[in-house]
Each structure stands twice: as structure tokens, then as C-alpha cells.
Symmetry: C2
Subunit: 310 residues, 2 copies
């Protein structure tokens, strides 16, 4: 089978991807700084290097490995936190990409997949965005993600096939219920489980496009397995379905009866709402989302309902 680097395997998406790759018989190495991820999330059998992906000394520890592909999933993932420490955000999300791409170039790694974000679009007139829509980042986090994509376009001209996956709102079991600054579904769910009361920062009419973590894992894997001529591609990883904040709350309430809700002022740089076309990834990679929001939330809630009782 094959050898992969998956950065961020102590985090939500990285751990799910690493686990699946290992299950399929591959060898996986990860780098994670455990800043928000947990060591216990790193799947059994995954080789773990603790450190920052933007640290040259850490990257040099990869010199003895030979990878078939690099999945760069690690990175500070909160728009809100990017406002508190913009330089750290630029380091984890952008300098790291540059160092890993240089590593790929030096070591002949042929494929690079990057966890980009729907936040690169920012807010604009069109609610429904495709990969050619204008990008106007509203958070520092989004600026860094977009800069990483631009670096990838350049590195693709050096022979590395670079795929930027613009994840929309990734959700599902495995999401960190202790991080109240990242992940709309998990933030609200954590409040419901803990306090029976959800405090929403911002309007109930804001909306998101939710995509289940299992479907995100399959997008990552298809990005390196489906043959393509293009050396650089950007794909929306979206369900193309508009889900309002109000509906998220209702879905949680229907699974956890008695949950109350209150609306307060929003956070800076928060997007009002966009949802994504997914024709490109369907046609070019044969990707199909398999778990809808209602099923995914039901499963997530069932598996975590006693989380705060331990």
C-alpha cells in the first residue's frame, strides 16, 4: 500500500482521515502540535511527530520518509481566534503550507492535498458559490487559506499535483465539544448537552452548508486516487444545501427536548452565509455526499449525549 503524511491527526478531520487510510492498509505519519487536538485522537498505528508544521526543524524530521502524498489538514481553524493572534494564524495556516510544499518539491512527493475553506469566498452578492466565484476573505484565517492556495498553484508548476479542498461546515462525531470557538454544529451541541441552553452569537437567519466528516474524508482520498490531467484544482466540498442557524437549533432541540436558545451579538469576520455548488467535485472526482445533516446530527448526538456527564 502507500505512505502518507497527514498533518493534524490529533484533530477532528485529520484523525478521521488518518484512521481511514490506516484501515485501508496504508502507513500514516502525522505532525500535530496538540494545540487544540488531543493525542488520544491520533489513531493506533499512526506515527506521531509532536510539533508545529511551520517549524523547519520539525519538517526536517520527515527527511527519512518517502510519501506518496501529503494531506495538509493541520492548522488553527477558527476565524474568531485568527483575530486574537493573526501572526500565529499566518504561521499555522500559510507558512506551514509553504514549508510542506518545499518539502514535497525537494523529496519528489507528487501529490499535495490541502484543507482550504469556504471562508475564502467571504460574503458576497451570490449566495451560491462555485470555484470561480470571487474570493474576498473576511477573516485573517481566510486570508491565510487563500494565500496557501495561491502558493499551491505555483508549486503545481513544479510537477506536484496540488488539490485545494474548500471545506464548507464540516461536522459529525469526533468534533471537539470542548472548543467553543470552532464549528457551529459542535458549539451549539456542546451548549445543549452541558447547559440545556444554547447562546447563539449572531443572527438566526445566518446559514451554512454542512458536510459530514466521512464525506470530507472521501473527498481527500478521491483527490489523490482519481486520475486527472490538471496539476492544480480547487474544489468545493459542500452539500449544496442552505441550512439556517434556526434549523440547526431546531434539529438539536428535536434530539434533545427541552433545550432553550438565546441570540446575542455576532463575532467579527463571521460570514452571514454562503452555500456551495459541488458540480465540479462530483464530475471530476466522482464524489457524492452520503450523510445528510439530520442523519449526521442524530448520530453525533447519540454518541455524545453523556459526554459532559463523565
Amino acid at each position: 500500500m502507500a505512505n502518507y503524511l497527514v498533518t493534524g491527526a490529533a484533530g477532528f478531520i485529520g484523525s478521521a482521515l488518518a484512521k481511514d487510510l490506516i484501515l485501508k492498509g496504508n502507513t500514516v505519519v502525522t505532525i500535530d502540535n496538540l494545540s487544540t487536538g488531543k493525542e488520544s485522537n491520533i489513531p493506533t498505528g499512526c506515527k506521531f511527530i509532536k510539533g508545529n508544521t511551520y517549524d523547519k526543524d520539525i519538517i526536517s524530521k520527515l527527511d527519512d520518509y518517502s510519501f506518496d502524498a501529503v494531506f495538509h489538514i493541520a492548522g488553527q481553524s477558527s476565524g474568531e481566534i485568527s483575530f486574537e493572534n493573526p501572526i500565529y494564524d499566518l504561521s499555522t495556516n500559510t507558512a506551514s503550507t509553504l514549508l510542506l510544499l518545499e518539502y514535497c518539491k525537494k523529496h519528489g512527493v507528487k501529490k499535495f492535498v490541502y484543507a482550504s475553506s469556504m471562508s475564502t469566498y467571504g460574503d458576497h452578492e451570490e449566495e451560491l458559490v462555485d470555484e470561480n466565484s470571487k474570493t474576498e476573505p473576511k477573516s485573517f484565517y481566510a486570508v491565510g487559506k487563500l494565500a496557501s492556495e495561491n502558493y499551491m498553484r505555483i508549486f503545481s508548476s513544479f510537477g506536484i499535483q496540488c488539490t485545494a479542498l474548500r471545506f464548507f461546515n464540516v461536522f459529525g462525531y469526533g468534533q471537539n465539544l470542548d472548543n467553543l470557538k470552532q464549528g457551529m454544529a459542535s458549539i451549539y451541541l456542546a451548549m445543549a448537552l452541558k447547559d440545556g441552553h444554547i447562546v447563539v452569537k449572531g443572527s438566526k437567519d445566518r446559514f451554512r452548508d454542512f458536510v459530514h466528516v466521512k464525506d470530507v474524508v472521501s473527498a481527500c482520498e478521491l483527490a489523490i486516487t482519481i486520475p486527472r490531467d490538471e496539476k492544480f484544482d480547487v474544489f468545493n466540498v459542500a452539500n449544496c444545501r442552505k441550512i439556517k442557524v434556526e434549523y440547526i437549533i431546531k434539529t438539536i432541540q428535536s434530539n434533545i427536548p427541552g433545550t432553550t436558545v438565546e441570540y446575542i451579538l455576532g463575532t467579527p469576520g463571521d460570514q452571514f452565509g454562503i452555500y456551495g455548488k459541488n458540480d465540479k467535485i462530483r464530475h471530476k472526482l466522482g464524489w457524492n455526499p452520503t450523510i445528510n445533516f439530520e442523519e449526521g446530527m442524530k448520530d453525533f448526538i447519540e454518541k455524545t449525549k453523556t459526554y459532559f456527564q463523565n
Copy 2:
């Protein structure tokens, strides 16, 4: 009069701007790391802080000052060098912008002007670009400049009027004839003056849009003096004239008879050619280019013809 920070006043554009602001009776402070600039370029009367603009300790030295505007002109300015040290490029051109914008936010500086670049456009079908044209950076340098603009758009929402000036090929007396990696006009001129022979990396049909450093200085000054409602603006600083490499050589040859020329392979990430519409800066800032390419080159050559004889 007013107090300004002009980063990079040991360099070509920064020194010309600082000098003009001082001549007009203002107080100017500069930060420069002297990596390519020369201390002797810093105009008399300009307060000099030696160091990197991406160094928090250096920025904290500004805590006792109160500026009416910040002009961020410093930065590694060669597309070619950005390939040799991408992380340094990201630090000087992007992390620096972020730190200076944070400084402006913290200290209530109301205006921020940034030396952006025509390289943010990259190559595309349209040869003649305006500020709404697609941006597809081809060099790491250009990725960092574009990311800085995106940071500025966000900071403008915090009340700082941010102006990104996309400089096209800035040229003229004062350009560093010892740096053979930056500045098409000065590179060719240096070769002509030194060896009587010009080695061109790339096609003679490539073209550029040249803008004289004096006109660039006036664009910077207009950016803070002309009242505008918009908190964020991007302007081309261009002459809207296509000048081929071949014509640059001919212009030098007509001023320095006997100069020979040879064409070799190009450098990575070099743009084939774009030229810029300047309607926006003409209309909104009342800017008008005053020195054309032929006059500017004649003056530059006259003032430097004995440069390599000393």
C-alpha cells in the same frame, strides 16, 4: 505639519518618498533592515530604526510615536529572490503588513498605504488590467502582496483607511544598480554601464508598464491627502503604456551607443507582460503621470553613467 512612518527608506521608493515628505516639512521615521537598501539612501532628518518590519520588538519601538499615516514600502521586492527564500519573503512582505496594521489599530493611526504590485495579477488573457481583473499570482512575492491587500481590506473595517497601490515597473534615478535581481530597467542599465553588454533572461517580446519613481511618490502622497469615503481602495499605479523588452534595450542603446545584447532563458515566475489601466487613480486621486519612459531613462542614464567607474 504631520508625522509619518515610511518603512524601507533606505530603499529606492521609500527613500524618495521619505525625502519628499521631509522636504514638505513633515517628520518622518523609518524602519529598514538594510538587506538591500543602503543607509546612505536614508534622507537627512529621517529618524532611522534599524531592523525587520516583521519583528515585534522592532515594531514596539514605535510605541512612543504618534503617526498621521503609515506608508509600508519596505519588503523584499524581487520575484526571483522569493523563490530562493519563500519564508523570508512571506515575513517581509506579509507578516510585516499584519504587524503594522495591528500597530495602527492599537495606536489609532487612521491611514495606511501599502506598496503592492502589478505582479498580483499574474499572467492572464487580458493584457490590459484594471483593479477588477482576476488575480493569479505567479511568484511567491506576488502571493504575499495579495495576502497583504486582503489583510488591509479587513483592517479597513476597523476604521483605518487602507490604500493598496499596485505599482507597475517603477524606475528612475535612485534605483539600485548593484542589485541584478530586481528592476528590469536598472538591471539592463547596470549591465550596459558595466560591461557594454546586456544579457536578457527571457523573451524580447515580454513587456512592462513603466512608471517613474517621482510619479509613484505623488501617488503615495495623494492616497492620504485626497478625501474619500471608501475605507479600502486598490489602485493601479501605471502609465497604461506597453513597453517591450526590445524597446528598453533600444532606449539604452540610443543613450549608450555600442551596447550589445544577448537573450537567454527566463527566470521562474516571471510574467510575460501586462499593462495597467489607470482611470481609477486618475479619477479618484487626481493622479497624473508626469515623466515618460524616454525622459526618465535619459535622466537616469545621465546621472549614473560614471557609476561603475568610481
